[in-house]
């Protein structure tokens, strides 16, 4: 089993490298074929001819495209992901600066989604046709179909505008940022503030997290509820469940121990994919809540045609996706030994 797993992981990683290479190549070509003037973006619109020429040299834009491509590949491997044309900063460092903010909301959103979606799906399946089931199905449909940015605005109207109990946007309040600044260790403000025993910072950053996380959770909640419900209904029809019932095992144990464990595997896959997607796909929520995440960074990069930044984010997103996928497959084989890793 162990060696099988290692072999499997190794094979998947090799395949992943090819996927990555294809993505890098494709993005590189697309980013460079689009008409734009990288040197001008880098050097600024009013630069002199001499400055432009120097920028061309500095960025290596005067060399053939294939040379630039191989240079870029070499840079990727050595951690040099290029310089943002707009901000003149290191792309990899920028991505790592923006990443924790995004991870913080998407992790919380997915935790909320699991905590709400799985019980809701299970009860819907168990009490099929009941009022609770109707409600659960409605929630699920609403979750997947309501535009999350619209829901986000409603949340702001209610919790900030009317009730005044949660902040409108941002990651920290002004006063807290000045008098109880959160020292950056991991970039996760909630974690960093706890690590430094800054409880004011912790409570404040948590309060700022709630609304964006809920808004971002609506889609996965719907997805998980629906998935869990249909899988549970299927599993509960199985013979071994009937057998367990006939043996007089308590219904709750049957549902949560025997049935759910078998029903949850596809749900996990779906959850993983939606998680990986939100790494750059949370842009609308990020903009509404003034949340400085990777989605916002990506959007700015695209608007400015800042191609090193676009390439960097694309490659980072691909790696993230591949890693999440692989982890999920391995996790599946642990939960359900019948899943063959081949």
């Amino acid at each position: 089993m162990q060696s099988g797993l290692a072999k499997y992981a190794a094979r998947r990683l090799v395949l992943a490298l090819f996927v990555l290479l294809a993505v890098v190549t494709f993005t590189f070509i697309v980013a460079r074929v689009v008409p734009s003037d990288p040197a001008e973006l880098y050097v600024g619109p009013k630069a002199t001819a001499a400055q432009r020429e120097r920028a061309q040299l500095e960025l290596g834009l005067n060399r053939p495209l294939y040379v630039q491509y191989f240079d870029y590949l070499r840079g990727l491997l050595t951690g040099n992901w290029g310089i943002s044309l707009k901000g003149h900063t290191s792309v990899l460092r920028d991505i790592l600066t923006y990443l924790p903010a995004t991870l913080e909301i998407i992790i919380l959103a997915n935790v909320i989604a699991v905590l709400v979606g799985i019980p809701l799906g299970v009860y819907s399946a168990v009490k099929k046709g009941s009022l609770l089931d109707q409600g659960g199905r409605l929630t699920a449909i609403a979750g997947v179909s309501i535009p999350s940015f619209w829901f986000a605005l409603l949340l702001q109207l209610l919790f900030f505008g009317t009730l005044h109990i949660l902040p409108l946007e941002g990651r920290l309040s002004v006063i807290v940022a000045i008098y109880y600044p959160v020292k950056t260790i991991t970039g996760f403000y909630t974690l960093d503030s706890l690590l430094t025993l800054n409880f004011v910072g912790f409570v404040d950053s948590l309060r700022h997290l709630i609304l964006p996380a809920i808004a971002l959770a609506t889609y996965p909640i719907g997805l998980i509820t629906r998935m869990t419900r249909s899988m549970m209904i299927e599993v509960l029809r199985e013979n071994y469940i009937r057998f367990a019932r006939a043996n007089g095992i308590i219904e709750r144990v049957i549902i949560f121990k025997h049935a759910l464990k078998n029903a949850i595997v596809p749900t996990l896959t779906v959850l993983g994919l939606s998680f990986a997607y939100s790494i750059t796909g949370a842009v609308l929520i990020e903009i509404i809540f003034g949340w400085p995440g990777l989605g916002t960074y990506t959007l700015n990069a695209i608007i400015e045609a800042d191609y090193p930044a676009i390439l960097g984010v694309t490659i980072f997103g691909t790696i993230f996706y591949i890693v999440i996928n692989l982890t999920l497959d391995i996790a599946q084989s642990y939960i359900d030994p019948r899943v063959r890793l081949t």
């Binding site: 008409p35 734009s36 880098y42 050097v43 600024g44 619109p45 009013k46 630069a47 002199t48 001819a49 001499a50 400055q51 120097r54 920028a55 943002s84 707009k86 901000g87 003149h88 900063t89 290191s90 460092r93 920028d94 600066t97 923006y98 903010a101 409108l168 946007e169 941002g170 990651r171 920290l172 002004v174 006063i175 940022a177 000045i178 008098y179 109880y180 600044p181 025993l197 800054n198 409880f199 004011v200 912790f202 409570v203 308590i250 709750r252 144990v253 121990k257 903009i287 003034g290 949340w291 400085p292 916002t296 960074y297 608007i303 045609a305």
Partner: protein, 529 residues
């Protein structure tokens, strides 16, 4: 696993959770009660974030932060009779050939890390900016060398005469920084560090949302009197959020509020709205190469068909003025007595007859930036007027990049009219006159493709005289402007206002258009209440 033990575990988890929440809550209130007394804080709710906080290369809107953390050798104050005010340099003089400028430096100034400000620091700052060669660094093109003559004297040797004190007061690429910064400091600056001499220094930076400054205790102008202790820049992309922030007291300053929203706060006693002339205008450059606008008569005719006053009244509700020539009003080098085109369709028809288009009958393309509601309204209003002359205006909405890409291609295929805004890097009429109308080998911003050797010579000569003989330089700028106005190389549409909305308790606030949208927080304070 028995049911009982799982239930016990659940209870234990609940109890632990309650204890954890209580503990955090307790510490929260304890820390709050132990916190420092709240000192005066000013909050500026701004439109966008800051792509590059490197004082050498910043070229977007970063000056709103940098002007509070860094200082120039010279401060440009348009409200003064002599706008070039001594700042980190106390005086300067120029050799008779205009090629050597000597700056005498202020003593007793230190950078935020304690390093003394001196001639070496000036040399370091200018050379770093020139070597990087990014953003506004091009303004130093005339400079051949920077020499530290002694500790408090710096000499700039030029390749050709240029107005160095104006350049030294620039809002881009002229900030003085400490020589102690790390090599390749761009990333370091963008993680929230600074190395200036200004009244405030960087406290914390959350890239993309919030930047806070704290006062620099050893600032050379001292801290007697009322001042803010901390300054916060927060990024609010949505105008109604920004306006709401100032109305509710969460923020003290904001701007870039659409005019229809502005009218909702004009009666609010807690909020002040102030208009000041910005050094920024909207031009509609007219293609002088492509037919039919290659005819000066056609260009004049369509200049007489533009509804200038309508735009001021309906689009801006008075927060702008009709332009007179390419240099915006309020700026040195602007002249109110240049010829101004006004909406006059009869005159336009006569000119069309002379040009050989008695009944119009041609179409023109106009491009504007997508998402810019003002440019869009301008285009629509213009289309309606041109239609009366039987000229069809094809309006094309494009991204900034696409718009410029089209204009930088073959002029005979490019748009007839391109709308865009212009503002100067440092305060000189030459910035407008050179970038917009000076002949170019490769088209950069002269989208009229205007090519007039007489004009080129006038402005180039004037620019060289500007530092030593300003009145004569201004007269030459005026003459040059009259030439492009007569040639109708562009529609001169409006000179914009900067409209700042701020907390009415703020005292002593005056906008300085030489530093775009910048608030010099050291100069202002807040009354209690």
């Amino acid at each position: 696993m028995s049911l009982k033990s799982s239930r016990t575990k659940l209870y234990a988890a609940v109890v632990i959770a309650i204890i954890a929440i209580a503990a955090i809550g307790g510490f929260y209130y304890y820390q709050l009660s132990q916190g420092p007394p709240v000192k005066p804080i000013a909050v500026y709710s701004y439109v966008s974030d800051f792509p590059d906080l490197d004082p050498s290369s910043a070229f977007e809107d970063e000056q709103i932060v940098l002007a509070n953390t860094y200082e120039d050798l010279v401060y440009f104050d348009p409200s003064k009779e002599q706008p070039l005010q001594p700042w980190l340099a106390t005086s300067w003089d120029v050799s008779t050939d205009g090629l050597t400028w000597t700056f005498h430096l202020r003593t007793g100034v230190t950078f935020h890390d304690g390093t003394p400000f001196n001639a070496q620091a000036v040399k370091f700052s200018l050379e770093r900016t020139m070597t990087l060669g990014l953003g506004g660094a091009y303004i130093w093109d005339p400079v051949k060398a920077v020499n530290a003559v002694n500790d408090n004297t710096v000499e700039l040797l030029l390749k050709y005469p240029a107005p160095v004190p104006q350049m030294a007061s620039s809002q881009y690429a002229a900030w003085m920084m400490s020589p102690t910064i790390p090599t390749n400091a761009t990333d370091w600056f963008n993680q929230g560090h600074d190395a200036g001499t200004g009244p405030y220094m960087m406290q914390s930076y959350q890239k993309g949302t919030q930047l806070t400054l704290e006062k620099y205790p050893n600032y050379w102008r001292g801290w007697s009197g009322s001042h803010f202790e901390n300054i916060v820049f927060r990024v609010d992309r949505d105008p109604s959020v920004r306006l709401q922030a100032v109305q509710s007291g969460d923020a003290d300053f904001t701007l870039d509020i659409p005019v229809d929203l502005l009218s909702t706060v004009q009666s609010n006693p807690n909020v002040k709205v102030v208009d000041s002339k910005a050094y920024r205008n909207l031009v509609g450059m007219i293609n002088t190469v492509r037919a039919p606008t290659n005819s000066v008569l056609v260009r004049q005719a369509i200049s007489y068909a533009f509804p200038y006053q309508d735009v001021i009244d309906s689009v801006w509700r008075g927060h702008a003025r009709q332009s007179t020539g390419p240099v915006p009003s309020g700026m040195l080098g602007h002249f109110d007595d240049l010829t101004q085109y006004n909406l006059n369709l009869d005159k336009a028809r006569q000119l069309l007859v002379q040009a050989g288009y008695p009944n119009g009958g041609f179409s023109l393309t106009l491009t504007y930036t997508s998402g810019d509601e003002v440019e869009k309204a301008v285009a629509e209003l213009y289309k309606a007027q041109l239609a009366k002359l039987n000229i069809q205006l094809d309006i094309q909405e494009m991204t900034t990049r696409a718009k410029y890409a089209l204009a930088r291609g073959d002029p005979s295929q490019a748009q007839h009219i391109i709308l865009f805004y212009w503002w100067p890097t440092y305060i000189t009429a030459y910035d407008f006159l050179f970038n917009l109308f000076h002949s170019e080998k490769k088209h950069i911003f002269n989208f009229a493709y205007y090519n007039n050797p007489q004009y080129d010579k006038l402005i180039d000569d004037a620019s060289q005289l500007e530092g030593t003989n300003t009145p004569q330089a201004l007269q030459m700028y005026k003459q040059a402007q009259q030439i492009v106005v007569d040639d109708a190389a562009s529609l001169f549409i409006f000179d914009q206002d900067t409209t700042i909305v701020y907390n009415a308790r703020i005292q002593n606030f005056v906008d300085n258009p030489a530093y775009i949208e910048t608030i010099f927080f050291y100069n202002i304070w807040e009354t209690k209440g």
